[in-house]
């Protein structure tokens, strides 16, 4: 992407947190002395949340940020919004930097801790309150509130108190609050955590519509592959480092010769343990990776997810291996590689590069 056309430019952003853990059981003078001592000591742990991350986002793009817990997704999106100041590097949003310039361009939707919903107020009162605080004229507020209530299928709950809603409904209120603002850039931090499958799909439709029909730029962070299925490009983060960036098919390209196999086996009829099964499969020349999960019902079964060579004969060789081990295969299916499997590959490749650089 041409740098000049980018609406968001992130250049070499790094962030470290200095650990200042607070023990909630302590209070009063003892805790004040302890905190003061920690503030002046050098013993506090430093956690590197982001390490030299750079990328650009084009206007109207749906951009995903994927990573495991603690990968740095929320830190990154908070830096993009101006809420968090990076230690190094810069963030330019629509040609400007700094929270005062950025905040009028963005709508930041975080579902962490329900982001301050007012439990004693109704859904509509929550929307009106934040609409007023964000400067939406009173004449626009009622129609906009009605629109977002309809969009998220929550009109029936408009006069319910937040305390009366389910977790998923509360999450929808935080989403509605973000969509109340008509801003060109939408940041969504883990937007699907408590949503059911239908609501997740509906949210994806809303986001696609916002990008394609309204020209909004959408940035979504998630550890859920489904939430990022609409993204044109995905940035993969691992322990604060960008391990890959590209469209889903580009990211999967290094794994072109790999197939995913999902087997269900009769665990209770075999002499080997699930750990022995996993180790045995990892030693097989056709197997790249394997996960074994036990389902302990009345008759225990194993779910075996394999990444294998997709060259001819691999499946046959694996079936022969299972027969030799006297493990009954109850079911088998092939699938495309999931985003998580692609992510695991890139993380592993990045760790290999770091290890080689370390040896050099």
């Amino acid at each position: 992407m041409a740098e000049s056309s980018a609406i968001i430019r992130v250049n070499g952003v790094s962030k470290a947190y200095r650990g200042l853990d607070v023990d909630r059981k302590e209070s009063g003078i003892a805790s004040w002395i302890k905190i003061a001592t920690r503030l002046t000591s050098n013993r506090a742990q430093t956690i590197r949340a982001l390490d030299n991350v750079s990328f650009q986002i084009a206007p109207g793009e749906i951009f995903g940020i994927y990573g495991a817990n603690g990968a740095g997704k929320t830190t990154l999106i908070r830096i993009l919004s101006g809420l968090l100041i990076p230690d190094e590097g810069s963030v330019i949003v629509d040609g400007q930097s700094g929270i005062d310039a950025i905040k009028d361009q963005i709508s930041y939707i975080s579902t962490n801790g329900w982001m301050g919903l007012e439990w004693q107020l109704t859904v509509r009162e929550n929307l009106v309150l934040y609409g007023h605080i964000f400067g939406i004229p009173a004449s626009d507020l009622a129609p906009r509130s009605d629109l977002v209530l309809e969009t998220f299928d929550m009109a029936f709950a408009r006069d319910k108190h937040i305390s009366e809603l389910s977790a998923g409904m509360r999450q929808k209120v935080t989403l509605m609050r973000g969509f109340l603002l008509d801003r060109p850039i939408l940041y969504l931090d883990e937007p699907t955590v408590s949503l059911d499958v239908q609501s997740q799909a509906a949210l994806r439709d809303v986001l696609v519509d916002a990008a394609q029909r309204q020209g909004k730029t959408v940035i979504v962070t998630s550890h859920s592959p489904a939430a990022l299925s609409i993204c044109g490009r995905i940035l993969m983060l691992h322990t604060g480092r960008a391990v890959a960036l590209g469209a889903a098919d580009e990211l999967a390209r290094p794994l072109a010769g790999i197939a995913a196999l999902h087997l269900t086996c009769a665990g209770h009829q075999t002499a080997v343990s699930s750990t022995e099964l996993r180790d045995g499969l990892l030693d097989h020349s056709r197997v790249r990776d394997v996960q074994v999960a036990e389902a302990n019902g009345r008759e225990s079964t194993w779910h075996v997810d394999l990444l294998t060579d997709s060259a001819g004969g691999a499946v046959g060789e694996l079936i022969d291996w299972f027969i030799a081990q006297e493990i009954a295969i109850l079911g088998m299916r092939r699938s495309d590689l999931s985003l998580q499997e692609v992510y695991a590959h890139h993380v592993s490749a990045a760790q290999h590069v770091v290890a080689v650089e370390g040896q050099a």
């Binding site: 830190t75 908070r78 809420l83 968090l84």
Partner: protein, 292 residues
């Protein structure tokens, strides 16, 4: 500028409405609140019966003990909100996870904080009026209105100076990372110095000299001194009693005005500056909200 001020004011009004909805949703609160003020005033009346025929001297603060203490209550209620509440309100913003939203909104750093404080304003400021009313209607308190504008000035000064100290207390949440229920500024001032040396129930002259000197460092001492001289019938405007009044060449009321104004001019800008610095520090450290 005018437009910005209007926006800040509109946001304050919205916050205030929210706090009123929340406050009034706890219906028992209103009854308990009413009873609490009535009981406090009744206790003072009982104490006044004990002191009525005793040779105790409240000079230069007149002779009506109920009025004397009711005025103490007024300053106490204002201080309880303005000095004691800001830290708790910032803690509520932090633990509720709303600081992110407030910072991304067009309003200033201080507006949400002031708006959320409105809960305590609803709760405590009317107690000032109720205390004066209960004292006057049921328990024989009498008020002199001859110096009303000056008395209002002192109420305004104690309101602003305690708010400044409250802001300093609140800023310690982010600036010094005191994330617990208490912090040293509020504890030292409200729970120690004010409790001991402000003289809500007794004239400061009955205290040992060391405590009188300690009381010189809090605005409450000067506000109470002036309000009692001005409002309690028989109050004397010329007799010096506070340590600083003896040191400075002015009349007691002038000294009170000068010292309270100086405290306000130091505490309020310092509190605002520290609060903004605290927020900026939290933005660098990533400690704006509990949820991140």
């Amino acid at each position: 500028m005018i437009q910005r001020l209007r926006r800040e004011w509109a946001s304050l009004v919205v916050f205030s409405k929210r706090e009123f909805i929340i406050w009034s949703s706890y219906r028992m609160n209103a009854w308990m609140w009413f009873l609490d003020v009535l009981l406090n005033t009744t206790v003072v009346f009982m104490l006044s019966l004990m002191t009525r025929d005793s040779p105790l001297d409240f000079a230069p603060y007149g002779s009506n003990y109920v009025t004397f203490v009711v005025l103490g209550f007024c300053v106490h209620y204002i201080s309880w909100t303005n000095l004691g509440d800001p830290f708790k309100r910032v803690a509520r913003i932090y633990w509720g996870g709303t600081m992110d939203l407030f910072l991304l909104s067009p309003v200033s750093y201080l507006t949400p904080f002031m708006g959320i404080m409105f809960r305590s304003v609803i709760d405590d400021y009317p107690r000032v009026v109720l205390s004066l009313a209960f004292g006057g209607v049921f328990f024989g308190a009498a008020y002199s209105a001859s110096q009303l504008p000056l008395a209002v000035l002192f109420l305004a000064l104690i309101l602003l100076s305690t708010l400044g100290i409250g802001l300093i207390s609140a800023s310690s949440f982010y600036l010094l990372n005191f994330k617990q229920n208490t912090e040293p500024v509020r504890f030292l001032l409200q729970d120690v110095i004010v409790a001991l040396a402000a003289g809500y129930y007794y004239p400061i002259t009955v205290l040992p000299r060391s405590l009188q000197v300690l009381g010189s460092f809090i605005p409450h001492t000067y506000a109470l001194d002036a309000l009692r001289r001005l409002v309690v019938p028989g109050g004397n405007l010329t007799t010096k009693v506070l340590p600083l009044q003896h040191l400075l060449p002015w009349t007691p009321i002038t000294t009170d005005i000068v010292v309270l104004t100086a405290m306000t001019l130091i505490a309020l800008p310092l509190g605002v500056w520290m609060y903004v610095r605290g927020i900026e520090k939290a933005r660098r450290q990533g400690t704006l909200t509990r949820w991140q």
